[in-house]
Symmetry: C2
Subunit: 364 residues, 2 copies
Amino acid sequence: MKTLELDTPVLLIDSDALDRNIARMKDMTAAAGVTYRPHAKTHKSAVIAAKQIDAGAVGVCCAKLGEAEVMAAAGIDNILITTAVIGESKIFRLLHALNSVRIAVVADNEDNINMLGRMAQLAGQQLDVIVEVDIGQGRCGVPAGPEAARLAQIIDALPNLNFAGIQGYQGKIQMVEDADMRKADTETGLDKFAATLAEVEKTGLSVPVKTGGGTGTSPFDMERGLLTELQTGSYVFMDSRYGGIGWPGANAPPFEQSLHILTGVVSKPAPDRVIVDAGLKSASSDHGPPVIADVDGRTYEFGGDEHGIIRMTDGGEVPWNVGDKLRLVPSHCDTTVNLYDQYMVVQGDEVIDVWQIDTRGRVQ
Amino acid sequence: MKTLELDTPVLLIDSDALDRNIARMKDMTAAAGVTYRPHAKTHKSAVIAAKQIDAGAVGVCCAKLGEAEVMAAAGIDNILITTAVIGESKIFRLLHALNSVRIAVVADNEDNINMLGRMAQLAGQQLDVIVEVDIGQGRCGVPAGPEAARLAQIIDALPNLNFAGIQGYQGKIQMVEDADMRKADTETGLDKFAATLAEVEKTGLSVPVKTGGGTGTSPFDMERGLLTELQTGSYVFMDSRYGGIGWPGANAPPFEQSLHILTGVVSKPAPDRVIVDAGLKSASSDHGPPVIADVDGRTYEFGGDEHGIIRMTDGGEVPWNVGDKLRLVPSHCDTTVNLYDQYMVVQGDEVIDVWQIDTRGRVQ
């Protein structure tokens, strides 16, 4: 089947570009001698997770327990859940999933750690727990410094929990456009990470895993050499925001846009605009509107839940007609992927495969 | 099961509030003597569509063919697809769905109409087609005036198409906060609708269906009496934006907030903030952040894909702890619903049912 024969809107993966992105991250981390654990919240696909592990990733990150359950059921081993698992119901689910694959979880709260310890003991299981530290994001995590050491000792003292390491992640600096500024922000965060690490090591505990980082900070994380596991996610797909950031020694990141929305023209009410069938339910808006791929001089604006409006930037006639199809670059890959059930995998103009978006909507 | 025992984040419907909203729209339209066809793009649920039809709705609207297919398979009869169905593949799907239930479709393009006619003839089916007119939205639809009459005649001349009426809808005025301004905008649009109607009627064609309107404009649409079918959608759930609009003769719309996101506190890194487990993948952001239900003095801000950050507006200590659960009011019901697979239906503190969000993600 040809790509242009697909019903729209539909999410496309360029198979070759995806494979090149995965290979590049493998080469970069291998050259830097750092382990990586890609974040599967971006692609939500067990097929892509398996490709990343085949390319040397130690395992994957999942944002939520519900994602980890689905990945575990699909046979993806060695998962880090990067948000805390709170309450008896979810901890029970976690321990159940732990029967089939290795799963570690982060924590930043003493009561939560004690509940994890009690329930793991009741279940007769051993659970790896990583202490989350706030290195600048202002979201979850204990403050950088001695509090992490206190929690690490509590974890270490509980017979069914293993203190496995420290997580410190800053999502908000990943897309700072200027590479030098992003490097400075990365260093500031990693300084806090290092200070926290020193506090934990003072207690005599070893810290096997130091995990964090993302696609944007990855060159600086690798240069510093502090983190043992990079949580890069977006590099597999990229998006218009990530595509616009600077990169040390280059004009652009070394990853290609492999994800597109194919949308169809449903109306041309006047020569100066066409209406396409991808709106707020087909393209996420949290990082702005998607961008038209391949050609300049056209702008997309959201036209409601089910429509987009495309105009020429010079106000002239739009060179598309009803029935034509065109590709959009998402502004935010993670939240756009979460709107779809499937990827259509394409090579050139041919559709070669269909992959499920296995963990779409798994927010619990 | 108690509502507070549910894993979070989860979408809740207050069953009693939903039923009251449905009853109020029934009463309002009955008093005005107008037919209504609620827009099922809001709730995406065959159960709720059936409740609306039980309450006197003539049928439902669907935004996309894919929604109509699912509703038809669930036994919902008499569907209007409010966007054009473009291309052979989709028209084939439309004609297939037409085997089981009545479906009408809108059109604004001559080539599309001719393709609908040819394919309906090949299939030996009769298809109702409604001409879409732009009455101010600036999106799809022919300009108000004689072009609609030309398309109506083309439809009428094709043996397997029936010219069924005119659609004119303005989404962008539905949430104009000031009721007088919204009324004026409604009148301006309906004037264009009436002028178009006159052009079509001049050709000798009758216009059985005049469809449009939404929850925000519904009191003015009913007062004017031009539309024969109101496409109100959001009244079943409401959201923080709709809840804030004025209403003629009252301070607020006569519909209650029946939809909430139940979210859980996953971290309290400092007394002045808690982090909850609902972020961009659990609450849509296109109309801004969700609002905390029931209590004032707290603000929610998005903290990324999987987190929200809640602070007191006065900077004081937040009265929640890790493990607590609280309700959020979505800022936009349609796009928030589209993130979930299920509604948990609650009555008081009890979960009484689970309804599937049948047409979630059906954007094709």
